[in-house]
Structures are given as structure tokens and as C-alpha cells.
């Protein structure tokens, strides 16, 4: 048995790309408004549920190519829009007024914690009460269950299209975000407001608008990732967000919570290792002892381990390590 197979690699890459998008969103709002958004995973679940609702809605009515267009083009865009609007509403209706009233960081954090549970429970209620065209209630349905996904054969293995799309979308978004941040006026304004909000205000930049946009962007990245992650879940239970948020924080802390590129790298590392490390350990254990151990259900422990190691060794994360010095030192030693 090989230590890794191609479908596990693609699976890990997809999970890493999704987590990179989510960590990017979390880090973006943390950098601008200094609030760790505990509701971020739930916003991603909103994207997944929008996809499921849309699929259920078109399932009987549309046939053929229209279903695929809905699933792979309309659903991600719609999910991104709705989740972005939700995040924007959270910021404008709740966090900004609270912050203007002088509530400290702990209060804002608790507000997002409360929002997480509120939104999550509303979603649970919706899923339990909405009848599905495919199976009883929506809570029992899953995107997989409709049997309309597209498989792409690569080296004799059938790969979900959604798993291929996630890394591609992540790369495209990273490039466009880089261009946006360095080449456009608004991107430069955003970087200025992150760097020094007072000075940016003095120069006539509308910092409030920049913050609002960053929340919208963060939400829509989460919605997009959630929409494509919906294909992975055996059933969409909003409670998955309670554990998923730990992975998002792990990736963001690894990234340093202070740089977008750090967040992308951190999310990628955490997502890939969560999928691949348990499988590798299992396969190595199998080749050595010949017996099977099941440790995939403990995969989320890797997130916790990463948080612990990063905070103990380099609390500034990847973004805080000065790579040039490190490289110079390594070269000198070598």
C-alpha cells in the first residue's frame, strides 16, 4: 500500500484551499477591526446551506446542464453574496455600534461568540423545518445525496469537480487579491487603514467604508468556501461549525493574524496536514504492523497541536518569522 494516493492528495489540497480562504477572511477582519470573529465558520455554513437550498429548489424543475451550471457557478456566487451580506450586516448593525459605544475587545469577542450561536441555531431550525424535495427534511439531505456532482477522471481515479475547483479558485483569488491590494487605489487605502487608521483618516480615507468592505470580503470568501465544502459533508449539520472554527483559528494563528499571505499559507498547511497526516500515519502503521488503526476521526487534533506549537515557539506565526535572516543563517551554517 503506498503511503499516499492521488485522491487523498487532491482531497488534502482541496481542504487546504478551503481553509486558506476561510483563514484569509478571518485574518482580514482581525487586521482591520481587531475582532477575532468566532462566527466565521458559521458564516461558511450559511454558504453551504444556500447551496443545498438552491440545489433542492432546482432539483425537480431543471434537468441536464442547467443543474450543473446552478451547482458550480450560480450556487458559489450566490453563497458568496449572501454570506458577504450577512457578515456586512453583523459588522454594521452590531459590531460597529458596540465598538463606537466603547465596548472593549472582550465584549466584541463575546458578541461574535453570541452571534455564532444565534445564527447556528437559526440555521438548525430552518433545516429542521424545511421539507426537501429529495428526502424528508433538509437536515437529512446532503449535496452528495442528489447525485448530480461531476467527477473528473485523473490517473484512473474519479475526482470531484468541487475538489479541483477549490485550489484553482484559491489561486485565482490570491493573485487577484494581490493585484487589488497593490495596484488599485482602494486596496492601497485598505492597507493604509490597516497600518495606521488615524493617519489614513487624516489623509481623507473613509476608514469606516474600508472596514465594512473588509467584512463583506471576509464573509463572501467564507460563503464561497462553504459552498464548495458542502460537497464534502455527509449531511449538513450547522454544528460542524463548532469544531471547524478551531481549524480556522489554527490556520490564522499559524499565519500570524497579521498578514494575508501568512493566513493563506497557514490555512493551506493546516488543511493539508489535517487530511494527510492521519492517513499517512495509518498507512505507515499498516505497513509496519499489518493491522489497521482508525484515527481519521481525531484529525481535528492536528489543529489543536498546531495552535499549541505555534503559540509556544513563534507566537507571531509565519508572518512574524524573518525568513531572510533565517535563510541567511542556514546558508551560513551550511
Amino acid at each position: 500500500m503506498p503511503i499516499l494516493s492521488i485522491d487523498f492528495l487532491i482531497n488534502g489540497l482541496a481542504s487546504g484551499a478551503a481553509l486558506a480562504l476561510l483563514c484569509l477572511g478571518l485574518t482580514l477582519t482581525y487586521m482591520t477591526t481587531k475582532v477575532p470573529n468566532f462566527a466565521h465558520a458559521t458564516i461558511a455554513v450559511v454558504g453551504a446551506i444556500v447551496t443545498l437550498l438552491l440545489l433542492d429548489w432546482v432539483y425537480i424543475g431543471l434537468r441536464g446542464g442547467a443543474v450543473y451550471y446552478t451547482l458550480y457557478i450560480v450556487a458559489p456566487i450566490l453563497s458568496a453574496l449572501i454570506a458577504g451580506l450577512l457578515a456586512l450586516t453583523i459588522y454594521i448593525a452590531i459590531l460597529r455600534p458596540l465598538s463606537k459605544k466603547g465596548i472593549g475587545i472582550i465584549g466584541l469577542m463575546i458578541a461574535t461568540f453570541a452571534l455564532d450561536i444565534i445564527i447556528n441555531n437559526i440555521l438548525t431550525l430552518i433545516l429542521h423545518l424545511t421539507p426537501s424535495k429529495y428526502i424528508g427534511k433538509l437536515i437529512d439531505a446532503s449535496v452528495k445525496g442528489y447525485g448530480v456532482q461531476v467527477y473528473i477522471p485523473i490517473l484512473d481515479v474519479n475526482i470531484y469537480l468541487s475538489r479541483l475547483l477549490l485550489p484553482i479558485i484559491a489561486v485565482i483569488l490570491t493573485i487577484s487579491l494581490h493585484l487589488y491590494m497593490t495596484r488599485t487605489k482602494f486596496g492601497i487605502a485598505m492597507r493604509a487603514s490597516i497600518e495606521n487608521p488615524q493617519l489614513a483618516k487624516a489623509l481623507g480615507i473613509n476608514v469606516d467604508l474600508v472596514y465594512a468592505i473588509s467584512w463583506f470580503l471576509s464573509g463572501s470568501l467564507a460563503g464561497l468556501a462553504g459552498s464548495l465544502l458542502a460537497f464534502e459533508f455527509p449531511g449538513i449539520n450547522p454544528a460542524v461549525a463548532y469544531l471547524y472554527i478551531v481549524s480556522i483559528f489554527a490556520g490564522s494563528i499559524l499565519g500570524g493574524l497579521s498578514s494575508m499571505y501568512g493566513a493563506l499559507a497557514g490555512g493551506l498547511v493546516v488543511g493539508v496536514s489535517e487530511v494527510l497526516i492521519p492517513v499517512m500515519i495509518q498507512n505507515i502503521y499498516y505497513t509496519i504492523t499489518g493491522s489497521v488503526i482508525d484515527i481519521i476521526r481525531y484529525q481535528k487534533f492536528i489543529s489543536l497541536l498546531i495552535i499549541i506549537i505555534v503559540l509556544l515557539v513563534a507566537p507571531q506565526g509565519l508572518a512574524g518569522v524573518s525568513w531572510r535572516n533565517l535563510l541567511a543563517r542556514v546558508v551560513r551554517v551550511g
Binding site: I106, A114, L115, L243, K300, L304
Partner: protein
Amino acid sequence: MVELPIIFMELANMLIFIIVVLALNLMAGYAGIPNLGMALFVYIGAFAVAGLSVRFAIILVNILNPDFIEMMRVTPPYKYAVGESPILDIILFKVTDPAVNRHLVPELNSIIGDSIPLSIMILTFILASAIALGATLGLIVSFTAVRLREDYLAIVLLAFSEMLVQVFFAQVDWVAGGRYNTWALTPWPQKLSQSLGNLLPSGVKPELFIGLIVAIILAITTLIYTERIANSPMGRVLRAMRDDDLALTSYGRDIAKIRLKVMMVGSSIAALAGVVYVLSVQPVVKATDYTRATWTFIPWAMMILGGIANNWGVIIGAVIVYIGRKLIEILAPPAFTTILSFIGVEVTGTTIDIVKAVTVNILVGVVIILVLYLKPEGIVPEKPSKTLPRKTLNSLIEKFRGSSS
């Protein structure tokens, strides 16, 4: 009409929430450590009664009476060969197996109940292990982020709580039952239960009554303890750390050390609350029941509503939220049933259970946000501490001594 046992149980449950909120208030209210992992510390107390003390009790009973395990060998779920020694296997792995656990715990309970010294030993072990586990876990969990900003601490506490309770304890079957229920010991002496049983009105279980008494004692002790900390020089240090840690550092205080100390004390109080919860209200322990919605979120709502950093305030908040939660749980199902049948959605038992939990969580969340927005200091705002500086105190003492002599 509401039955007496139900009133007793709700009262005990409310007192347990009061203890948890007082512990949370010590950590989050006074010391500014945003503990989003309360569920973990309450669960570890429950684990001390259910998973851990059963193992201790087996060892103890086996030392006193070596035939105990031999006797267990005969009962169906064990099936050990004659030469094999089953004790290690039972203590390590089989204790939490539901088939074994269901037989073993009542057996142990009756043996422990018969002898007063044994039950005192078990009780001491439960309390000591809960305190030790709570303190150790509080130390380990907060150690990673204790030197960083508060938001890192909150993230780490939340991550540990979710991972340990909902993944480790809920998935690894042999440690604490995992996916199955485990029964906790009821280590009260038989004589006490019997004589109480004669005194109490019919229907009230003696265990519940004893649990209620223990909850009352623990709640009062915790209140006195936290009040004394709050009004001591230590309390001033904690508030200073919460308000401006940089200033406190420049006065030569070690922030990390103070935080670790507070985390150890607060977590062991929360673990004791978990012990009392299992002993009085819920003797069946399952990790997935200790969710963050119940044991982290609701205590936070109680604290924010009552008034952060005011012990009497958080007690008032706890009473209000607890009663409100009970009222919602009673009122929401009939209201929703009417609405749902009006819309035409089929109503089943599980739907009603979900509606109950969902309504409570949503409304508690709304209360948190509204209180933060409208009255962030809570119902009873924080009061200045009543301590005098040590120098003034000393000079006052000197003055009184001088006037008396």
C-alpha cells in the same frame, strides 16, 4: 402542580450554575481572562465522579476484598479465562464499556454505601481529584497563551474545550465512556440515605437532597471566597491586570503568574460544580452533553446580564437567566406547535426538543448582545473594592492599639 423533587432538582441545578458563574466571574470579570472553555472544566469535574472515581473505587474495594473481581468474573459481560487476571483490563478499558459499567456501578455503590469509612474515602478522592484535575487542566490549557493578548487566550481556551470534550472524551471510548453513557458513583453512606429517606416527604430521593445540601454549601463557600478575593489586595491586582496590564507589569508584577494562578483556582471551582452537578442532578455522564452552548454560553450570558466583576450581580443574573430559560423551555413547545401546525409542518418529538434548545440559545444570544448594547455594565454595576491599602490599614491598627492601651 409542580412536584417537590422537581423544585429541588431545579434549585440544585440553579446553584450549580451560580457556582460556575462565580468561577467565571473570578476569571473573566476580575482578572480579564475571557474563558470560553468553561464547558471543559465543568466536564472534567463530571469525569472525576464518573470515569475516574469508579476506577479508584474498584482498586479500593479490591484491596479490601480480593474476592470482588473474582465475583465479577462470573457475571456475563466479562468472560475471562481462569488463569487470567482481569483487574488491569477492567480498570483500564472495560470500566467504561456500557455493558460492564451498568453492572459494576450499582455493585460498587452498594459496597461503598455499606461502610462509612469507604464512602468517606471515595468522597475525599472525588473532591481531591476534581480539584487537582481542574487546576492542572487550567494550568496546562492557559499556559500556551498566558503571555499573549486576551484574544489569543480566548481562542486557545475555546480550542482546548472543543477538542478535548467533543473530540477526545466524546470519541475515545475507554477513557470516559466516549459515545456511550457512563454511570457515576453515588458515594453516600446507606445509613444516611435511609434515615434521610424516612424524614423526607415521599418522592424526594435522598441522593438529590444530599446533593442539594452540598450545592448550597459549595455555593455559599464560593461566594464568600470570591468576595474575599475581590476585596483583598489580590482583587485590586486582578482588576489592575484587567484594566491595564502594561501598568501592572511596570509595577513589577508577573502577569503570566497571576493569570495562571487565577486560571487554576477558577477551573477547580468549575470542576467542583461539575462534581455537584453529577452527584445531584445528572448521574449519567456523557461528554457530548457538556456542550459549549450550555456550559460556556449560558454562564457568560448570566455574568454579562448580572454585572461583570460584581459577585452579587452575577448571582442575580444567574437566577434571572436560569428562570427565563426554564420558562422558555416550558412555553416554547406549545407556542411553536400552534404556529407550525398553522403553517402545516408536521410536528414530531424530536422537532419539539430541537425547538426548545434552539429558542433558548437564540434568546440567550440576543440577551447578551442587547445587554452589551444597552447596559454594558449589567444590572448591578461593578463597585469599587472595599479594601484599604496595607499602609493605611497598619496605621489604623496602630492607632486603635495605641488608643486601647
